[in-house]
Symmetry: none
Subunit: 186 residues, 4 copies
Amino acid sequence: MRNRIINSASELFTEKGVEKTSLAEISAKANISKGTLYYHFTTKNDLVFAVTEMHMENLTQNLLKLLNTGDPPEEIVGKLFDTVPNAETRSRLHIYLVREAVTENRELLKKFHDIYGRWKKMLIKGLNEVIPGLEDPEALAGFFIAAVDGLVIQNLLSINEVETERYVKLIKLLLKNEKGEENVKY
Amino acid sequence: MRNRIINSASELFTEKGVEKTSLAEISAKANISKGTLYYHFTTKNDLVFAVTEMHMENLTQNLLKLLNTGDPPEEIVGKLFDTVPNAETRSRLHIYLVREAVTENRELLKKFHDIYGRWKKMLIKGLNEVIPGLEDPEALAGFFIAAVDGLVIQNLLSINEVETERYVKLIKLLLKNEKGEENVKY
Amino acid sequence: MRNRIINSASELFTEKGVEKTSLAEISAKANISKGTLYYHFTTKNDLVFAVTEMHMENLTQNLLKLLNTGDPPEEIVGKLFDTVPNAETRSRLHIYLVREAVTENRELLKKFHDIYGRWKKMLIKGLNEVIPGLEDPEALAGFFIAAVDGLVIQNLLSINEVETERYVKLIKLLLKNEKGEENVKY
Amino acid sequence: MRNRIINSASELFTEKGVEKTSLAEISAKANISKGTLYYHFTTKNDLVFAVTEMHMENLTQNLLKLLNTGDPPEEIVGKLFDTVPNAETRSRLHIYLVREAVTENRELLKKFHDIYGRWKKMLIKGLNEVIPGLEDPEALAGFFIAAVDGLVIQNLLSINEVETERYVKLIKLLLKNEKGEENVKY
DNA sequence: GATGAATGAGACTTCATTCAT
DNA sequence: TATGAATGAAGTCTCATTCAT
């Protein structure tokens, strides 16, 4: 039941954003009464939080899978840049939830803070394993995550006319050099 | 008068997001009546659009100034990564407006689409001027913009513990290699 | 308009009490939309406060009139005991509003506090004018007001089978003796 | 079990009034489920009635004890005026329940009617025993009860700055004269 | 140009009550 | 006896928008 509600909410949030989705619509989609919804979630924010948890958990699982394929690093990062920003459904939801976290929802903000931290650690570990000797893996991880989020935005705004491979090529260059070669003047 | 309204709206949008800001509040802050507000803007969306225009114009001007300093490229990109994501006020507004554009506001979406396109072109031109011979300046520009937006998000979520210089160092490496050196196995 | 709303609310509060009267009912009775009601009163409590103010003002005016008739004191007090508790409409409203003041409504509580104080002062002044030399006019005033309120309750509970004259007779005795005669053992 | 529920309800009613207390809160406080509450009380009104019965029984027992102390009448009435209005807890509950009885609760109204009648009779009997020859003991009893209720209200409204002794002195005068002395012009 | 009173649709939330287990 | 999930009706409040002045 809780899950049924979360799923309905998730879909509607993705479609119209959190604020434009009413509890009435959610309960209608879940085929339950508004009262039932209230029984399971004390507050709309409660529900938003639950949806966020599920969403973030999904993304984390995907990232884990990606890191455990044993693929060469440029392949992994390539897939990362290919998959995430192009999953429109999740992208939308992500932006909506970020927006929610940014205002008036401390709890949600903390959730995001924690998960992003976890992602960064996962990436750092993954990078270190496959490319030993990186100079600043932390910056690299933060940078990759930022780029992914930024591409998410560009995709939502239908701006991205560059094929992923071209980005991947850039990343390859980046990784190669970060491996610690002496800095050359360009 | 129009500007007074736009400024008031801008501040309130930044503070609480578009949807949680009521026209009543805006007119109160601008010291005018709700009626007057409606005299100048047919609709709330109208106002949102006007605010977006101003906001985007500001960002564009900043980018232009940055590109025209004549600084070396890594300096420019460094400043870009240093300034934009750390301007909390603008960051918030930006995320709020993006969110607004992504749902139910075709006109706004187009606005964003256009401006991001313009930014990309400006960056490409800038890059080409200072670093002739780049292999894929378009991908590079898109990538930089994405990274900036992503860092905006990380800052809003209070996640970014990496100092900008470390990012800049990464970018330097990227630029160096992108200059067309033969690809080396890492 | 404000008055129209206050009157409608007043009637409904009297009929069913404050908490069982919905803003929907009030606006229906006043032939306006719920929105209009909200336009004039930010909150249900606001409206309750306004109704209280009007109600208390009415009672105060009545008391003033009574005190200025120039009648002999026992007549005045007699009328007080006769009029107030028997005005069912006002009695009900009074009890409902007292109830409201007693919980969760600081402002209302203060209002009641102030008005009761004013009434006491008016009574003291009146008593002193017509019966000079009273020993403890303050206690007397408090006592009379208490008795009136108590009879209000009894009337609402349909308990009062004693005719007012019999109470008036008691009061006469009280006033006579309070004039300062030496205390006699009974 | 029933008593546990009644006590929890009693406390909550005292704190927040009948209408603002939900059955959910009551069952939570009584550490039982809402279902169990409904097993014992068919309806919220049922519970209110039970609470009233207990409350009124308590007050009646107190009055009985007071009347059976064998103290001189002015002492008894003094204690009455001293104890009842100053017992804040009971006072609040009393006002809340009166309010409940006055609207939409016939059964409750009858209960109050009956108990107030019984109190009056008890007082009359008590007065007659200790002060034989009273002219109108019924009026006196009604008057005393009214005064007590009125002082309850004043205390709840934090208005009563007069010490009880001063009221008692008034009552003494009243009793003395009521004993049948010839009426003197004042 | 400017105002502010009026509106109606709808949002979130509350809660007494029912009922299968 | 006891439970707790489910419900539906209703309550307070919010707000973008209209319109006569």
